[in-house]
Symmetry: D2
Subunit: 249 residues, 4 copies
């Protein structure tokens, strides 16, 4: 039973959409810990997983603040005594203001830096030693999985601050992958290229001309993340792109 | 039972190593057809799959020759009457002569063109209409999966002819993916970055310093191909890279 | 005076447009040799350069045919006795049929292979030893410059055969650059991303919404090629992109 | 005479090496303004340019601080009354600590963010309106040129924080290029792939095996920047790579 596993998964940025779906998917195998800046973000997913017989724990944390992250992992250690980390998933994002460049508020750049760069840096420094410690015994190679976007590989007009954060996060991920692969930790990055199903996008009915499955099913992303986590160490993937069949690219 | 499925998989370049492993993996779900220029290439894999309770058929074919390919698919239609194509896998390769550029034999360039470009072009023109016809009924999105290499994305010194063929194959794959995605056919390319286990590489004991799992397990590649084939159409991946955890990149 | 230089430039694919403009630009410094499959292609440019006080020679040659290329360079040696090669420019292209993939005539693929891959391979094998021999005495690092296109880096739907040839040509160029850079030969590739001025495109009045300078001036490409040729060996560029200020990319 | 031009160039990160060489090159055409956090950084270059008959002005400024940048441009307006901006060059860098990822001091990440992201964002917001205003009258398309590095396109192990800043800066540059190209402002990025000559690297005698010209001449970089600045608007380059002929890549 998943809830009996001595390994757990931690996910940051785990509201509806991708984070929630990934939490539910990994909860089939492990207890999952959901981190968010406010409890309201994760409460629905935590309840749903527990109601379905899995085990989910929510902890308030701000990855941009190292003390907050330290406190969160201390809380995890109390809630899941004797557990080891099997997978850490960084799904937080932000810092978008689609305006002409000179009109972009510097605070939007700061927000992008905080969530995409500083927050991920802190989260990675915190989780990598835990993942490395799990290498000898984890059922699958311990994994650090990172959610990216089209803006991770393309700097479009009016997406400057968002792209800056996303490219930087991808750079960190790649650097870490090169250092931690040889230690047996699987670090991977997903370029999500499209609108994802979830509460925030329910109203977007015209995506890809309103085609059926024109939005990316969050569950399909979760399935791909699970495939990454379960890859054999002799065949690690560092990056996948994910997009609807009807997406122009 | 896989052998009872009315859908089949066709694989070209199916000796030991990747092709054989992919054939065995897909044989868990579908009858598989193995194509090669000489029967000796596929015989071992065909026997093994049939012995294990799957269904495998070998057909001699040269993808560089359209008439040969036509004959092969006519033979398939006879052997698997009423079957539809669920997955086509292009795993053939060649055209490498690691010499100073001006010493490379023009025949090596021709070999690279034949197997990587002309052969793949013919195979794709042959299989895409069959895959498209399977869209409404196939258990998973019909898939055209293509095996690439490091040389698909990097033109190293002394790898000119090999890289030329590999880059061209990747270009064809990407063009086709953009055209056939919206039709519901999943076209994907794998950049295999490392030495693969198999009869041809058994003697290479020093790969990645002789590290355990320093060669890519062909079975792990097969598993990743299966993950690609079973992706939901709302979340197609066009490209994955696959490499051993210890590989420098 | 340019016509008195003991170094020369050879350009293949030198009709109007890019080839002609590059020939005229390099003719300010060197005698230039224009190669094309039919004399009609280069005659106008040859006459114009000679009339302007430069020196230009036209030679019929088919790069896809090694014997034809051998004959052409024998003719060059007779016409420009004692001259050494300072720059070789490959500007030939072809193999486009913007149709659905399965309707593309295999002969179009063969045309793309011939001009983009086989022809360039032959041209490079022929010119690289000549360029290498010029390293100690050439006024600028001897250069092999190659014209690419958007299709060199992107496989768009309906551009499969064209992209296959272009990607392969770029792969060859990159492999050669890595081998010949250390010898002092500058190998560079230009991704031309837009419609170029010239006789063939004169009628296209709506390019980029008809904006002024919405087509790439062939002379501006020639100027960029000259900049590449005159780079110091301590600061070689392997690739530039070139596009109109108004181009979407 | 350059010093009589009513257009000027501003360079940030203008000590010895690249910044100084670029300042000297652009000083042949325009008065140049050198910005740095301490006057000692630019004093030598300013004196040399003025002694050689050009015109150079040094202003203390910290691009990470918007008020400091505002003050600097107010000082420039006083020193060069009636002048317009022809070229802005961002050459500042930092944030490198080549250690195992978990040992990297968070302050190094903050330094990388400050100089590569926040500083460039501020500098671009300040200069783009000035460059845009120069479009109708500038002798060449007004240009924003940005210095990158290998770490702008590759996240190597132990270069995580540096790569994060560099990738982000490249993302900002690309977003801005897409927005400002159509306005006639030329935004370009240079990937400098090698060790550059200059006071800081004088002691590195073993670069590329000690080969002659094994370090990139800062003057050759300056020449390439000048080529970018003088490109016609119908043929803008967004990115060049620059490396010594002997560099492995």
């Amino acid at each position: 039973m998943a809830s009996a596993s001595k390994f757990y998964t931690v996910i940051i940025g785990a509201g509806g959409g991708t984070g929630g779906a990934v939490a539910s998917r990994f909860a089939k195998a492990y207890p999952v810990v959901l981190l968010a800046r406010t409890a309201a973000t994760y409460e629905g997913t935590v309840s749903a997983i527990n109601a379905a017989g899995g085990r989910a724990v929510g902890v308030v944390a701000d990855a941009g603040d190292r003390a907050s992250l330290d406190a969160a992992f201390a809380a995890i250690a109390e809630q899941l005594p004797g557990h080891q980390l099997a997978a850490a998933i960084y799904n937080a994002s932000g810092g978008l203001q689609p305006k002409p460049f000179v009109e972009v508020d510097p605070q939007v750049l700061e927000a992008s830096i905080d969530v995409n760069i500083r927050g991920f840096f802190n989260f990675a420094q915190k989780t990598l030693p835990l993942l490395e410690a799990s290498v000898p015994t984890s059922p699958h190679p311990p994994s650090l999985l990172v959610t990216g976007a089209t803006a991770s590989v393309k700097g479009s007009a009016r997406f400057a601050t968002f792209a800056a954060g996303k490219w930087a996060k991808r750079a960190l991920t790649q650097s870490i992958a090169r250092e931690y692969g040889p230690k047996g930790v699987h670090v991977a990055h997903a370029v999500i290229d499209g609108v994802i199903t979830g509460p925030r996008t329910e109203a977007y009915t015209g995506v890809n001309g309103g085609a059926p499955d024109g939005k990316i099913s969050a569950d399909s992303i979760a399935e791909t993340y699970w495939s990454l986590h379960t890859q054999h160490r002799s065949g690690f993937t560092w990056e996948v792109d994910i997009r609807p069949y009807v997406e122009k690219w």
